[in-house]
């Protein structure tokens, strides 16, 4: 019999659909993938090593550079870990916790907005891309109001936040929250309900419940595979135990479910922000913390429900002003580990979409 040869295709690092500098070497039979090998590290900056030569406070801004589309949540995860290590979790003023919840959930909406947009772009729905970015930009306006920056906020502090909410923030937030449900409705109109989009995503690259747990999926990806888990509800940190919200779970774990879970999460985030707006007390936004942060000897592992999954910080302290060892458990880094398995047998076009559906950010993968 005549035989055709397999084609080796180097997807990335300069490729529009790898969401950064991810590189994947694909073996193609026709346009179907028989084998995929991940190559990471093009954006490796050695942040974990850098942490060892920075003081605890100096390291806060580095967190914005991890998952650069959800900087606020990364900072929060880091300060939460250090607060736990110092044992000052109880002393944080309530107002600060509420502000953290508000900006954190806003950041989640922004991150999911980007997710929707890049997902749309990867199925070539260029128009839907602008819808996602339009709403994300308005969220960033608000975050800019509180922190002065749009991406690298550097807003969280040990024991609170850097500054109180500015005047007029609540009004603007209220206006945005009134607009967002209609905007999310539009997503359904322009992309999610589209026949071609459904054909491209439903049943594509499914990840079963067992496989998702085995490969260490966390966050929305895990929920899309039918595991009902959410740190905000199961192990409530901050003041999340005071809010009522649903945890959207889908059963099939295919590309479409991964999208829908995130869209539903955006709606839940709006609910949480609404409740936080109502419940936010007056008061200080910073606890009394020493000028020099010197956590006691010991270690801590603390996780936070990031937009991409569980962002964990394992910090080992030797009692000095600098962390002895700081390890960042990054959800994207672990989630991408499934891609070679997932891509097997997929069409090249679907592989690109499946990769987008995992919601990877290279800043966090390579750290």
């Amino acid at each position: 019999m005549l035989k055709t040869q397999e084609l080796t295709l180097n997807l990335g690092p300069h490729h529009p659909s790898t969401h950064g500098v991810f590189r994947c070497v694909l073996n193609l039979e026709g346009e179907y993938i028989t084998k995929a090998v991940n190559h990471l590290g093009y954006l490796h900056r050695g942040i974990e090593k850098l942490a060892e030569s920075r003081t605890y406070t100096q390291f806060i801004p580095y967190n914005g550079r991890l998952d650069y589309v959800a900087g606020m949540l990364n900072e929060w995860a880091y300060v939460m870990a250090v607060e736990k290590l110092m044992g000052i979790t109880e002393e944080i003023p309530e107002r600060a916790e509420y502000i953290r919840v508000i900006v954190g959930e806003l950041q989640r909406i922004a991150s999911h907005g980007i997710y929707f947009a890049s997902m749309a772009l990867d199925v070539a729905g260029a128009s839907a891309w602008f819808y996602g970015f339009r709403d994300r930009d308005e969220v960033l306006d608000l975050l800019e109001m509180v922190s002065g920056q749009r991406l690298m906020h550097n807003y969280m502090r040990f024991g609170g936040v850097a500054a109180d909410l500015p005047d007029g923030f609540m009004n603007k937030l209220d206006k945005l929250l009134n607009k967002l449900p209609a905007a999310i409705e539009e997503y359904e109109g322009i992309l999610l309900g589209n026949e071609i989009f459904r054909a491209r995503t439903v049943g594509v690259a499914p990840v079963s419940r067992e496989m998702a747990l085995d490969y260490g999926f966390t966050g929305p990806n895990l929920r899309a595979s039918g595991v009902d888990t959410d740190l905000r509800r199961d192990e409530p940190y901050s003041v999340y135990d005071r809010f009522k919200f649903n945890v959207p779970v889908r059963q099939n774990g295919d590309t479409f479910d991964r999208v829908i879970v995130r869209i539903e999460e955006m709606k839940e985030s709006i609910k949480i922000i609404r409740q936080a707006m109502e419940g936010i007390p007056e008061g200080p936004v910073m606890a009394k913390v020493p000028k020099v942060i010197k956590p006691p000897v010991g270690e801590v592992y603390s996780r936070l429900e990031n937009a991409k999954g569980h962002l964990g910080f394992h910090i080992v302290s030797d009692g000095s002003t600098k962390p002895y060892r700081l390890r960042i458990y990054s959800p994207c880094f672990v989630n991408i580990g499934i891609f070679p398995e997932m891509a097997k047998g997929l069409h090249l076009m679907d592989a690109v979409v499946a990769l987008a559906s995992l919601d990877i950010v290279l800043g966090e993968i390579d750290r």
Binding site: L40, G41, H44, G46, E48, K49, S53, L213, D214, Y215, G216, T218, V227, T229, D234, E235, P296, V297, G298, E299, V300, Y301, R303, H310, G312, H314, V316, Y324, R325, R327, Y329, F333, V334, I336, G337, I338, E341, D366, R367
Partner: protein
């Protein structure tokens, strides 16, 4: 705050089943046990599959370069019992070797590669133990304390 397993009972059961392999490890978190490297895979398998513990999730795999030893830290989590456990494996400073647990959790695959890449810990039995973040011809393991940063 965190739900903690009864470590004494857990260690007792593990020791009974696999021989003297585990002990309670005292640190500030109060949720650590120490496991001997040779028995690590069996212990992890047990922790995952025994419905009493049901640690279905490998939360984190870390390696620390302590002055006296290398420690590989596994953070485990259960979705049903919502409890947590930290498993620590102490390794030789000169030749740190530990069996790979990729057969238990595939999630360990990339994390073990990372630990090998940055800390230089050999995971025996790993299907593809290559550098993951650094270039293939990189010399040294930067997260070790004796690795000097060059600006």
């Amino acid at each position: 705050m965190d739900k903690i397993v009864d470590r004494e009972a857990l260690v007792g059961e593990l020791n009974q089943k696999f021989g003297n392999c585990a002990e309670v490890f005292e640190d500030n978190t109060n949720q650590s046990i120490k496991v001997k490297p040779e028995k690590l895979v069996e212990v992890m398998q047990e922790l995952r599959d025994n419905p009493k513990y049901d640690f279905k999730v490998l939360m984190n795999l870390n390696s620390v370069d302590y002055p006296e030893n290398f420690t590989v830290v596994y953070h485990l989590n259960s979705l049903t019992h919502l409890h947590k456990l930290t498993v620590k494996v102490e390794l030789d400073k000169v030749n740190p070797q530990v069996p790979s647990i990729t057969s238990v959790w595939n999630a360990a695959n990339v994390q073990e590669r990372e630990a090998y890449d940055l800390m230089g810990i050999l995971f025996t039995g790993h299907p593809n133990l290559k550098r993951i973040l650094l270039v293939d011809d990189f010399v040294g393991h930067p997260l070790r304390k004796d690795w000097k940063m060059q600006a």
